[in-house]
Amino acid sequence: MSFSWARQYEPQTGVTKWLDERLPLPRLVYNAVGAGYPVPRNLNYMWNFGVLAGFFLVLQIITGVVLAMHYASDATVAFAKVEHIMRDVNWGWLMRYMHANGASFFFIVIYLHIFRGFFYSSYKAPREMIWLLGVVIFLLMMATAFMGYVLPWGQMSFWGAKVITGLFGAIPVVGEPLQVWLLGGFAPDDAALNRFFSLHFLLPFVIAGVVILHIWALHIPGSSNPTGVEVKKESDTVPFHPYYTAKDGFGLGVVLIVFAIMVFFLPNMLGHPDNYIEANPLSTPALIVPEWYFYPFYAILRAFTFDFFFVPAKLLGVIAMFASILIWFILPWLDKSPVRSGHYRPLFRIFFWILMADMALLFYLGGAHAEEPYIMLSQLATAYYFLHFLVILPIISQIEKPRPLPYSITEAVLGKDEQAAGNKPAETSA
């Protein structure tokens, strides 16, 4: 499961020896995130975001459990309960602002984590399973965040729930009954609010479970690295602790500073003012939008404005929106280039940055009013999004001529590797 030179856990005291023979939990931690896990020595700061995502998951669970102690999922009092938390619960405002902004930060670090995976092709063999589990985590996060946003029972909660569950209504034949079954009624009300609260409490623990599988799968091949060259020998690695615990600690500090600025000085910047108006089924907001982290997918949903042959526009939008994430599942088999890192792939690299620009555009368009020229732009951006993953990636992985790779991580870091000289000419440039 790990490299032969990985350090072994040696219990020092009587108590830890006793424990190690009965329940080797310290050994597990030592091998997972301690000195027993050898990690490539050349990871850059883009490799911090996995640990940061784990931090925000724990923060969301802790603040969420506290909030749940003061909340009630009853449509008549839910909105007032949130105000009760903001006004009368000791430090309730801090818990709620940390939870609301924590969700945003969870998505920020997850997006950077995913984009890191895109650029360095972290999804490639032998790490496909890590990637698949990661996409599952992302889908679970989206479901959890969506249901969490409904709980304050503001205008955007209500209308967002109505629009998103309405997507299921677009499915032919079973759509309408399915939507009613999901909501427990014809519109979001007590039944929907109660089940959303229940699931919003449950799903984070499911996420935690899949995170454990994600980390387990990671420890089979070990971490990837910016060169994409696999670990060959001990000099390619350093123990996770203290090297990466220290680096992650610094990264965490930087992110927490930004987080604190948001929580204490701009707590509502990422939210929507309409959600401070209590849900009112008789009054439709001028602009119904989900939270910012759903914008790219919302833009794709809204991009399909005309029926295409026999497929209604609404159904097409729903299919495209789900497909836009589900295609990530087959990514490892679409991109067959033997080279992982974008640093050594001149053509891929250009298209990667076009994809990033395209995603940025979709982020912007998802929050914009549904009017021209935003609709036309979102149609172009949507077309590129699908072309990138489904057409461009498979083709460039065939025709691209990658730049020469370094012999090993050691060579990439130090500029020379004694072993490399005997094996192949040192003509690499990194």
């Binding site: 020595r41 050349n42 007032a80 105000e83 903001m86 006004r87 405002w93 801090l94 350093v238 220290a246 680096k247 600690g249 610094f250 965490l252 500090g253 927490l256 500073i257 604190a260 600025i261 929580v263 204490f264 000085f265 707590p267 509502n268 003012p273 309409d274 401070y276 108006i277 991009a303 399909f304 404005t305 005309f306 295409f308 497929v311 097409l316 495209a320 497909a323 087959i330 088999w333 679409l334 009017e371 021209e372 609709i375 036309m376 149609q379 172009l380 949507t382 077309a383 590129y384 699908f386 072309l387 993953f389 489904l390 057409v391 498979p394 083709i395 870091v413 130090l414 500029g415 990194a430």
Partner: protein
Amino acid sequence: MIRLISILAGLGFAIAALWSFGKGAYVVMTEGMGEQSAEYALHEKVRGPEGGFSFEGPVGNWDRQQLQRGYQVYKEVCSACHSLNYVAFRNLAELGYDEGQVKAEAASWQVPGIDPNTGEATSRPGLPTDKFPSPYPNSVAAAAANNNAIPPDLSLMTKARKDGSNYLYALLVGYGEPDPAKLAEYPEFETPTGLYFNKYFPNVNIAMAPPLTADGQVTYSDGTEATISQMSKDVAAFLTWTAEPTMVKRKQTGWPVLGFLLFATILAWLSKKQIWSSVKPRKED
């Protein structure tokens, strides 16, 4: 095989999106982008009070005198139609009133009660633990008394609007006649009966009659001159406080937290540097 299917699917999605794009583009070319409405043209960007509010910015603090004046405006003007559901009389202590004043202030309001002898619904003087009473017994009565437009609760108003404090101020001073130059371009524009023109309201026709119509409408006990602008600014400040009474405490808590995090991050940076110094540095590019 999988890549062949994927390329076909990718082309399918792209063509479907471009199909919508083409049809949309055709509509735009033949029919244009749609005309600007008069409401859109006459609407003006929100402009806050001169000098801004004392609570703005990362070190802003409440001006308690101003909050008390704003409370007076709410009590004497706004409360005729608007409720303040999430605020209790006890919260007024934060405006600088002492315990006795809070009790007296609460008692000056009539809140719904129950007659202890008969059990019938009645009203009684408020206690500090009571929330502010609603001016109408229910939403039907509120709609009936206001031409079917229910006056919204004001507790969270400044958070429920973009740039809420400035918006509220602008709205209160924004009544009047449309700009004649702009109006000339839209001769058919007319404010419907029962509505009032307000250039800062999203569709410029608001159901609320101008609440502050004359200087000196409220008599301030601290000698401040009660101009319309001053009253608007004061009540906007008061309603910013009702929307988030913990705002100043939040900002004041933020500074030591930031200081600690900065210190901890510097320590983390130094220890990271020291730990990594034992590994050979990266080659120079």
